[in-house]
Amino acid sequence: MNVQTIEKIELVLGKKDRKTITELISKPLDCFPSKKWFLLFSFTASIATLGFLCIGWTIYKGIGVWGNNNPVGWAFDITNFVFWIGIGHAGTLISAILFLFRQRWRTAINRAAEAMTIFAVMCAGIFPLIHVGRPWFAYWLFPLPNEMKIWVNFRSPLLWDVFAVSTYFIVSFLFWYIGLIPDLATLRDRTTNPIKKVAYSILSLGWRSSQRSWKQYETAYLIFAAISTPLVLSVHSIVSFDFATSIIPGWHTTIFPPYFVAGAIFGGFAMVLLLLVATRKVFQWEDFITITHLENMNKVLLTAGMLVGYAYSVEFFTAWYSANDYEFFAFKNRAFGPYAWTYWTMIFCNVLSPQLFWFKRFRTSIPVMIVVAILVTIGMWFERFVIIVTSLHRDFLPSSWGMYTPTIFDFGILAGSLGLFFTLYLIFVRLLPAVSMSEIKGVMPGAHPKGEVNDV
């Protein structure tokens, strides 16, 4: 692919000038939120509150209010954790990896995707904290010097998780914030509201848009992209180690790291797609977030869907080929055991539904992509449920096999995390530009008068 072909795709439609773009993007920040926004906000915030009530009750009474038991020690808690961490992948993937690969169409979607990443990781972060039996001691998972000279166990994948997730959160947050600086400066310069002025002034760190600033800014951005890229791969690899390094059939699999990363990209892109389809419609940003963007994302979805499909089948094959009874039983049990319906839901949502995107008609159809994205999101949640619950509920000794039934608190906390996620996103689109103003101007027709791209 050469530079010319990229340029041929129009990334900003409608022959807009820069001022129009600035105005269009900052419009939601200038006006007072509509009734619809408040309605939606109160809905999602109520659900989030409900979730927090459920969490409060859990902390008050004990993990017993959930359906977890012996043998199923982890269920919705860790399923939700892995689900949200997975969703949190797309943002950094879009902003870092696609940046390094010069996928210039990313500019329209990276801001929202990164914000979504941060919110998803925040949602994910709740679960390791609340899933422990004594959350008030959860800080013991950090290597804090103490008078008892007890150190953490560096052999435990859960500890790696703590480091991986916290590092990922910090780096993603900084990357997102650095990308925001030029836009914050623009907002500072535009606003007449004194409060906003002060806030944006502080946040924009005295950005003057000088040549020198831009040069340093872009270097910093590039470095952050380079730092983030391995993190995208490492976080979910490490999350997968929670399972892969254990000895439970169905968990103890070497394929898990790449499989989890593919799954994370898959689930994350589906969520970004959902958010963007709604955002572009509401804020009338169809000219920056074009059908081409969505189609590109659908292609990624199709690819990632095939990858996870491949992983599902290879797992099965390996289980059979290993001639290990326990291993093969675990997979037979997934597909034909009492939780078979979750397995086939997963297969339908993750493997079959994206196949529609082989056809351009479906790739470019908004309703189809909404349905598929929702299905993929559901499917990816079930994937984690299948991995966690069906492996645990029937392991080595048949005497200790059991069943897991979620309680109202399990559902409440899952719903609450969704509520929190959407609440945070709703606040975000009203406080910060959801599309990068400065970057979008760089991909406008005429941004490079000589028709060439030189952004190294």
Partner: protein, 987 residues
């Protein structure tokens, strides 16, 4: 100063004298110069003082209430704080009793273990004996004497009763007790009867010896039940006898049986156990061959066996008997039953004098007589059946109760005294109406139970652990019951109450006098009675020489009567559903229903907790159109949930007694349904009706097949002799190498060996572990969710290679203390670690509760505190907790520790003695309780220890060895001893 006309009221001299300073002060509102104004003129010092004070106030505001502990004013001479003391005592239940050791710490009994010196215990205690410590501390026990609903003092209560008893000499007094094995108490009751001559004494137990006594009377002319010697029998047949678990003397029988069930080399032999039964008993699950029959087929089966022995094997030439048995129909069909009978008769006839047939004591008179007949054919009397010693038995069945109920019906009873037992619950509801006709019902009981509710005067009985007593389980053996704690409540023992009623010396004096006159006098060796008494208390058992044996010559007319009265019904009728009842393995006849740990102890066969269920075979269920959890109604009286149980004869429903209590404590009320409504028999022909609705049955094991996995390894004796290391061939574990240097374990290396051949799954270890380690019971709702807390469990798997002969294996499963423990690596906070002595340790204080360790445990033996299960501890339960074991809070993981507190104790004791730790000096609680000595614990580093010898046996293996977790527990594969004709060994 007030003036009232001329009088002057004054408060002080100053006021009286109208001192000016006083007048000034009286004008002011505040006596002290604190109008708050100086707050604004704070000095630096004062500010800091105030600040300090508020900080101190804020930090100390919410303090827990202070509980002061009081030191001993004079420390008891032998008591060392924190050091356990053991007292020999006796556990008595129904007609059986055996010696126990009560472990007390600072005067509180905390654990019951068997008395190794008592021949009926030999160091192990049954589930009931062990759980009686929980009964002692049960908060629902009756606490005060009551008259009507009014609490009164014992003095008032006794005064009332004595005046009642004395009033009018013609008052008809009836005394109804449970079985009393105490000779002193029996003599005291006789004294009571002498004092109040209008008294008649009845004994009643729902699980009685009445029929058994009758059968011996018919067969041999004496009602006494002889003692069995399983250790002398090579071939055993149990017909609904449930010798290995369901009988009260099973603890002793198990040890005898297991003596012939120990394999150390291919040269060893095993006994062979045949079981024909109409319910699935623990004995049946351990049989080499098991035949499931309908209750009505048992008699025919036993007669067919007798006929085979007489005709085919010519064991009797008595023409009279031959002609009697001639009419017994042969088993024509080429069924499994015929093969079973053939093999059994073959075995029995070849082992005359070395075989034993046991028939359940609740079986019909006829069946028991046929049992005696077969035993006499086999020359068991004098060999496997003791002709000298007879066991305690009483006429305590429903028949003996009949005259009482008749009298009650006719209104002839003026005063009824019920002691212990629970007649209102244990019989059908008719008796409850009879109680209304009795003007004065005096009740002595442990709980406010169903019978207490029908009484006018009720008083709390002391627990056996709180009172003096004695017990004689069989001739020639007697032991003392001594109190190990002051009565927790305002209670008295029956002996004490009787003594106060007949105005004699105290109960202890009575006991001593009886012992002096009746027992000491027969013991020639002791110098003084005091020395004898001390020795009897110390040893826990006294023996008397039994001389003279009884003749056991079978009377043919008994068999004649059996044949004559042979009920045509017992020829088998396919259309009827038959109900077979049996005592509960966990709550017995309901008297242990209020003990949570027993309710939660899974039935050893069904693994059902907190319920009795209608067990039936899948075929029967299909016929009746019912599924697991459906509710059926039996005879319009009893509602029971359906439980599918393989290994039952078609057309049979079985269930256990002891459930459906309506009073007597919070825990037991409403658990299951009572089956006493059907009457006193254990077998009924019933009509069944399906009801709507569904019942959730809480089982601790939902899956019953091993799925072909090498978990419990077993082989017939022949195969073992051919390939002694057969377990090695059942799993293929390549030798694995480690990149790291192995830890050498320089000191001890604790390990365990569990012999699956002699483990019968009696669950004594589970209760021992519960009590020793303060394990809470969690209730049915939590068991349904799979959150039971027992550290030790007994996995039970069925093997259905043969259609009729379902095989069962029991496997104790506990933390395997793996050297490569998967739980240890995954804990992020290092709360579970490996000790330098090879123990997988759990640090509760460090645990944050991620549950990762439990997920990664291949044996699933870790238990998580999903709630604060110990929140419900109420007085006096806390007194019974083992002070050496932490009470775990919610949110932490727990599991078997190999009784680390016992290891420390043993090591400390050895250190104090200046000796190395002796093999066998440290016993885990499960090992201590095991009646068959199937659990061996010790130091694997000591090459001479029992455990290292056992672990090196050729048929030893590790469960899931291929995972390379390297467990410290070696299982010795199960060796069965099938009859070659019934099960052919293939090489």
């Amino acid at each position: 100063m007030m003036k009232d006309q001329d009088k002057i009221y004054w408060k002080s001299f100053e006021e009286l004298t109208q001192d000016p300073r006083y007048l000034e002060l009286a004008q002011r509102e505040f006596m002290e110069e604190d109008d708050g104004s100086d707050f604004f003129t704070l000095s630096r010092r004062k500010f800091l003082k105030l600040l300090g004070a508020s900080v101190a106030l804020a930090t100390t505001a919410c303090r827990r209430p202070v509980h002061k502990i009081f030191p001993y004013v004079r420390q008891p001479e032998t008591l060392k704080p924190g050091v356990a003391q053991y007292y020999a005592s006796t556990f008595a239940l129904n007609n059986h009793s055996y010696g126990i050791l009560v472990k007390t710490i600072e005067g509180r009994p905390i654990k019951i273990e068997g008395n190794p010196d008592h021949p009926l215990s030999l160091g192990s205690a049954s589930t009931f004996a062990q759980a009686s410590i929980l009964e002692l501390y049960d908060p629902d026990r009756k606490r005060k004497p009551t008259i009507g609903n009014k609490s009164v003092s014992w003095d008032e209560w006794n005064k009332e009763i004595i005046s009642l008893l004395k009033e009018g000499g013609n008052k008809q007094i009836r005394l109804l007790t449970e079985s009393i094995t105490s000779p002193t108490l029996r003599s005291t009751i006789e004294k009571f009867i002498k004092k109040f001559p209008n008294t008649k004494w009845y004994e009643y137990e729902p699980i009685s010896q009445e029929t058994a006594r009758q059968s011996y009377q018919h067969a041999f002319g004496r009602p006494n039940i002889p003692k069995f010697h399983l250790e002398k029998a090579d071939i055993l047949l149990s017909i609904n006898a449930d010798i290995l678990g369901g009988r009260l003397d099973s603890n002793a029988l198990l040890r005898q049986w297991a003596n012939k069930r120990k394999i150390t080399s291919p040269k060893d032999t095993l006994n062979r156990l045949y079981v024909a039964e109409s319910y699935f008993s623990l004995t049946g699950s351990n049989a080499d061959h098991r035949l499931a029959l309908k209750p009505s087929e048992l008699l025919l089966f036993s007669l067919q066996l007798a006929k085979l022995l007489v005709y085919r094997f010519n064991l009797s030439t008595d023409s009279n008997i031959r002609s009697l048995l001639k009419s017994v129909p042969d088993e024509n069909s080429s069924s499994y039953k015929k093969e079973f009978l053939g093999a059994l008769a073959h075995d029995l006839s070849k082992n005359r004098g070395k075989s034993l047939v046991l028939v359940g004591e609740q079986e019909s008179l006829e069946l028991q007589i046929v049992g005696h007949f077969i035993n006499s054919l086999l020359q068991s009397y004098g060999t496997t059946i003791d002709t000298k010693i007879s066991t305690a038995s009483f006429n305590n069945g429903f028949n003996s109760l009949k005259s009482l109920t008749q009298e009650m019906e006719q209104g002839k009873v003026d005063i009824l005294i019920t002691v212990g037992g629970n007649i209102a619950y244990q019989t059908d509801s008719k008796i409850n109406d009879l109680f209304k006709k009795i003007p004065h019902h005096i009740r002595l009981s442990l709980y406010n139970d169903e019978t207490t509710a029908l009484s006018h005067y009720a008083a709390p009985l002391s627990h056996d652990l709180e009172s003096w007593g004695d017990s004689q389980p069989e001739t020639g053996m007697i032991s003392l019951i001594q109190p190990t704690i002051q009565p927790l409540h305002d209670s008295r023992s029956l002996g004490e109450v009787l003594m106060s009623w007949i105005h004699e010396e105290g109960w202890l004096t009575e006991l001593k006098t009886y012992w002096k006159n009746h027992i000491y006098s027969k013991q020639p060796r002791m110098a003084s009675f005091e020395a004898f008494w001390e020795a009897a208390l110390h040893n826990g058992v006294v023996f008397e020489k039994v001389t003279g044996s009884h003749s056991f010559t079978f009377k043919p007319e008994a068999l004649h009567n059996v044949m004559k009265n042979l009920d045509p019904r017992f020829r088998g009728d396919d259309t009827r559903i038959e109900l077979q009842l049996h005592p509960s393995y966990t709550v017995y006849d309901g008297r242990f229903a209020n003990i949570g740990s027993l309710q939660e102890l899974p039935d050893p066969v069904t693994k059902v907790t907190w319920d009795n269920v209608a067990s039936l075979s899948p075929n029967t269920a299909q016929k009746l159109g019912v599924k697991q959890g459906d509710i059926i109604e039996i005879e319009n009286k009893i509602k029971l949930p359906i439980f599918l149980q393989p290994g039952l004869a078609d057309g049979v429903i079985t269930t256990s007694l002891g459930y459906g209590r309506s009073k007597g404590g919070e825990v037991g009320i409403g658990v299951g349904s009572t089956v006493f409504a059907l009457g006193s028999q254990f077998q009924h022909a019933i009509r069944v009706k399906k009801l709507s609705g569904h019942h959730k049955i809480a089982t601790t094991q939902a899956h019953h097949s091993m799925e072909g996995r090498p978990i419990v390894l077993e082989a017939p004796l022949e195969e073992y002799k051919h390939t002694p290391d057969f377990p090695k061939h059942k799993t293929h574990t390549p030798e694995l190498f480690s990149m790291y240097e192995e830890y050498p374990y320089p000191g001890h290396k604790w390990g365990m060996a569990i012999d699956l051949t002699s483990c019968v799954g009696c669950s004594g270890c589970v209760v021992a572990c519960d009590v020793e380690n303060n394990i809470p019971s969690v209730g049915k709702a939590q068991v349904l969710k799979g959150r039971e807390m027992q550290w030790m469990r007994l996995d039970r798997y069925y093997e259905t290679s043969l259609e009729h002969d379902i095989k069962t294996v029991h496997q104790p499963m506990l933390c395997q203390h793996c050297d490569n423990a998967p739980c240890e690596t995954v804990c992020p906070v290092a709360a579970t670690t490996h000790s330098s002595e090879g123990i997988n340790q759990m640090t509760y204080n460090r645990c944050v509760g991620t549950r990762y360790c439990a997920n990664n445990c291949p044996y699933k033996v870790r238990r998580f505190n999903y709630f604060n299960f110990n929140n419900s501890i109420e007085y006096p339960q806390e007194l019974g907790k083992n002070p050496d074991v932490t009470i775990r809070m919610r949110g932490v993981m727990e599991k078997c520790t190999f009784c680390i507190q016992r290891i420390s104790e043993g090591k400390n004791a050895a250190k104090m003695r200046g000796e190395p730790v002796l093999d066998g000096s440290i016993k885990t609680a499960c090992q201590e309780a095991c009646p068959t000595e199937a659990i061996i614990f010790g130091d694997l580093n000591d090459p001479h220890s029992k455990v290292s010898k056992a672990s090196k046996q050729s048929h030893g293996y590790h469960v899931l060895e291929e995972l390379n977790v390297r467990p410290a527990i070696t299982y010795l594969a199960k060796i069965r001893n099938p009859h070659p004709k019934l099960e052919k060994f293939k090489i």
